[in-house]
């Protein structure tokens, strides 16, 4: 007989470790429908009839954060056969708060008190018999890390499910219990008996989702309201607060009976570490050193080396030449060889090239998360970033994105608040990444005598775009209404658990390969088709003998007019921009190929050495206008990122709508800034075009969005 056991508990309670030990490699990782909350399911190692669902770590069953909603809907709607409630023994008091809520669901439950090894080492004492008696369910002592008591806990959950025995639930004061009993009788009598308690408590709390779900007649609701109001006036508090207060009162009393701390008030090792790490003076320098290490290892030395190896050596020198040679040998048509080698394998290579670098980054991030430093990052940086609608944890994505936007966007995974995470994903791509620097170099060398200030300005534009976008976006309705109070636990530091860190690293890397891979490969094929086929003189594949304008060129001429207001309306600039979507550094190569030099490699090489011969490009495509070229640079730095980054956005947003919103925002913002820069630039250098009028309108619009009052701000 198959059976479902749900694993529920607070964040940082060791739930993930327990889940990994219970299920081994028998896991399926996905997303809960409609949200970006990770869903993990697995079969019990020794009995594959038993399915274990790892619910997101939550503090409460209130309906506010996506994690809580997911966990609650699963428990109430799907009703698993048993709940295995994992409780951190070193943080018993607050962990039991969720336990009191789970106990009301009318689902058989077993409590696993984790980290018992640490509790014993500290000399503290938990009276599990007393706890079991009070809560009316089995209480098992475990250490997920050491593997102690795991089998016992799983067996207890299976037994509880079979026996169907329910927990004790009467914990509130007389007046409240009376009202709840009344509500059970009046409103939820038709429901199965074991479910009545939970619904009655929620009705007492005036839980909107439950009221909506039960669809009670108006007269009954008014009748209930009288009951609730009576208790509220008696207790001089609102119903929600009464319930929370009484739950904690109950727990405080229970703690008095079940828990003995050996050395109250003594500083633990974790406390001592924290005295240094978040010290008022030392916190920022330590933060800077940690960030420097993350950056150097993932983007700098090691990461850079792996990307170079994967792209240039593995794919560039080994795989693609080998495949090409083999296909030619078996007599494949030239176009097919090109499609497979350049379009498909090139596309796959573009994805895989980032993977080692990303694994290094994810490894470092999961280390930081697992040891507890990540929440200190948020603590230290919160004040600065929340002004821009971002989270303290947005610092890491932004920093990483100066190397590569793809891991940068993926790094936003560590931000809990969905709102902050979405804004971070939508703005991280503005940073000037490694692949955008050749564009900056090209423009600097072609028109500004290689001035280093161009690069400085480019970085400034990127950062300013993040800040301005953040301020504008956080005032939109889509980002409001979801309150994200910054009330965050700072978990005790502990040594990272290698198995967890490696597993998290791999899961994140693999999910990128799967999701981003499909987007990038499809886009790679599309661009190959556009770039290699021509309609000129009959539909054909472009070779050295049979030339003709590629579909991309034709398309470039068609859309070039869009860029006239921005000052770079030639078709070559449009083509370069489109090719920049494949990889930003392609912009340089395509200009080289389209110029009178007709050589992509020449342009790529000249950018490396900032060669003055690049002024040819400045003359041919921008008519020698510094302003045009500058506007082109800004547009290409800010507009839709490369396909690999789009794939990462798609992965993180987990929604087509939000992916398009992100691309739309970035491209629209790039267009707005470019038109303002170009048209006002023309005005200040003594010229004038009619496009100044829309440019001025865009400027006023942006300023309005930037400075308008945030009507959704929560007070």
């Amino acid at each position: 007989m198959s059976m479902r056991i749900a694993l529920a508990g607070n964040p940082n309670s060791g739930k993930t470790t327990l889940f990994n030990v219970l299920t081994g490699s028998n896991q399926y990782v996905g997303n809960w429908p409609g949200v970006t909350v990770e869903k993990k399911e697995g079969k019990l190692k020794k009995n594959d009839e038993i399915i274990v669902t790892d619910l997101p770590g939550i503090y409460s069953l209130s309906p506010f954060t996506p994690e809580e909603v997911v966990a609650r809907n699963y428990l109430v709607g799907e009703r698993p056969d048993a709940i295995l409630n994992i409780v951190d023994g070193t943080n018993l008091e607050r962990n039991l708060y969720l336990t009191t809520q789970l106990a009301e669901l009318g689902i058989p439950m077993v409590i696993a008190i984790n980290m018992m090894d640490v509790v014993r080492k500290n000399g503290d004492n938990i009276n599990t018999d007393e706890l079991a008696k009070a809560l009316g369910c089995r209480v098992v002592e475990i250490s997920a890390l050491k593997g102690d008591g795991i089998i016992e806990a799983a067996d207890a959950a299976i037994e509880a499910a079979k026996a169907g025995q329910l927990t004790h639930r009467h914990i509130f004061s007389g007046a409240v219990e009376h009202a709840i009993a009344h509500l059970e009788e009046a409103a939820v009598h038709g429901l199965p008996e074991e479910q009545q308690r939970w619904y009655a408590v929620k009705l007492f709390e005036r839980d909107e989702k439950v009221i909506e779900q039960l669809n009670l007649p108006q007269t009954l609701l008014e009748h209930i309201e009288v009951d609730i109001a009576d208790v509220e006036s008696e207790k001089d508090d609102d119903a929600v607060s009464i319930i929370i207060n009484e739950r904690y009162d109950y727990i405080t009393a229970l703690m008095g009976r079940c828990y003995k701390k050996k050395n109250p008030g003594r500083l633990s090792v974790s406390d001592k570490i924290d005295l240094v790490v978040t010290n008022r003076i030392l916190a920022l320098p330590i933060f800077a050193v940690v960030m420097w290490l993350v950056y150097t290892l993932s983007i700098g030395t090691v990461g850079d080396w792996t990307v170079g190896f994967m792209n240039d050596t593995l794919f560039g020198e080994w795989i693609i030449p080998w495949v090409t040679g083999m296909l030619e040998q078996i007599g494949c048509a030239e176009w097919l060889v090109s499609l497979i080698a350049d379009g498909i394998i090139g596309g796959v290579g573009a994805v895989l090239g980032f993977v080692p670098q990303m694994l290094i980054l994810f490894l470092l991030l999961s280390l930081l998360e697992d040891c507890g430093y990540m929440s200190r990052v948020a603590f230290v940086m919160d004040r600065l970033f929340r002004k821009f609608g971002l989270s303290g944890k947005s610092f890491i994505p932004m920093l990483v994105a100066t190397g590569c936007g793809v891991p940068g966007i993926m790094a936003s995974r560590t931000i809990e608040s969905e709102r902050d995470r979405k804004i971070t994903v939508m703005t991280t791509g503005f940073m000037v990444c490694g692949a955008k620097t050749p564009i900056v170099g090209l423009i600097a060398a072609a028109l500004f005598d290689g001035g280093a200030w161009v690069a400085t300005l480019a970085y400034f534009v990127g950062i300013a775009a993040v800040v301005v976008s953040g301020i504008i976006l956080k005032k939109f309705k889509a980002f409001a209404g979801k309150p994200a109070p910054f009330v965050m636990e700072l978990p005790a530091y502990h040594a990272p658990i290698p198995a967890n860190v490696l597993r998290t690293t791999w899961e994140r890397g693999w999910s990128f390969i799967k999701r981003a891979g499909t987007v990038i490969v499809a886009a790679g094929i599309l661009i190959w088709v556009l770039n290699s086929l021509s309609f000129e003189g009959g539909f054909h594949y472009i070779t050295e003998e049979v030339g003709g304008a590629s579909i991309l060129e034709v398309l470039g001429s068609v859309i070039a007019f869009l860029f006239v207001p921005l000052g770079f309306g030639r078709w070559q600039a449009a083509v370069a921009t489109v090719l920049g979507l494949v990889a930003k550094e392609e912009v340089v190569g395509s200009f080289g190929a389209l110029s009178s030099m007709a050589d992509a490699d020449w342009a790529m090489g000249a950018v490396e050495s900032m060669d003055s011969s690049l002024s040819i490009i400045g003359q041919e495509f921008f008519g020698g206008s510094k302003l045009s070229a500058f506007s082109f640079m800004i547009f290409n730095l800010l507009c839709a990122p490369c396909f690999a980054a789009v794939g990462a956005i798609r992965r993180e947003m987990n929604s087509a709508k939000w992916t398009w919103a992100a691309i739309g925002w970035m491209t629209g913002f790039a267009y707005a800034i470019s038109i303002i820069v170009y048209q006002f630039g023309v005005l200040f250098t003594g010229g004038f075009t009619l496009w100044l009028i829309p440019a001025a309108a865009v400027l006023i619009g942006l300023l309005y969005l930037l400075f308008r009052k945030n009507k959704y701000e929560l007070k």
């Binding site: 008091e93 607060s241 009162d249 008022r280 109070p485 910054f486 929560l714």
Partner: protein, 73 residues
């Protein structure tokens, strides 16, 4: 009304009531800041906000704006 925001670093306070409403209030109370809870203000972040407090045997950080909704004695 004295609030947690006004409580000095290194000082202890006892929660009287959490003001405000809706999700923010609920979240603060869910984390254990309920009537009668002993709170120790441990430190303030390097940039001056948020603060870190100890309650019910664990560490919690919250913004000063939210701390201002918590009445203490």
């Amino acid at each position: 009304m004295k609030t947690l925001k006004q409580t000095k670093i290194g000082a202890k306070a006892k929660v009287v009531k959490v003001h405000g409403e809706g999700a923010v209030k609920r979240r603060i109370m869910d984390m254990g800041l309920t009537r009668g809870t002993e709170v120790y203000v441990r430190k303030v972040a390097p940039l001056g906000d948020p603060i870190e407090i100890t309650l019910r045997g664990y560490e919690l950080s919250l913004r000063k704006a939210d701390a201002d909704m918590i009445e203490v004695e």
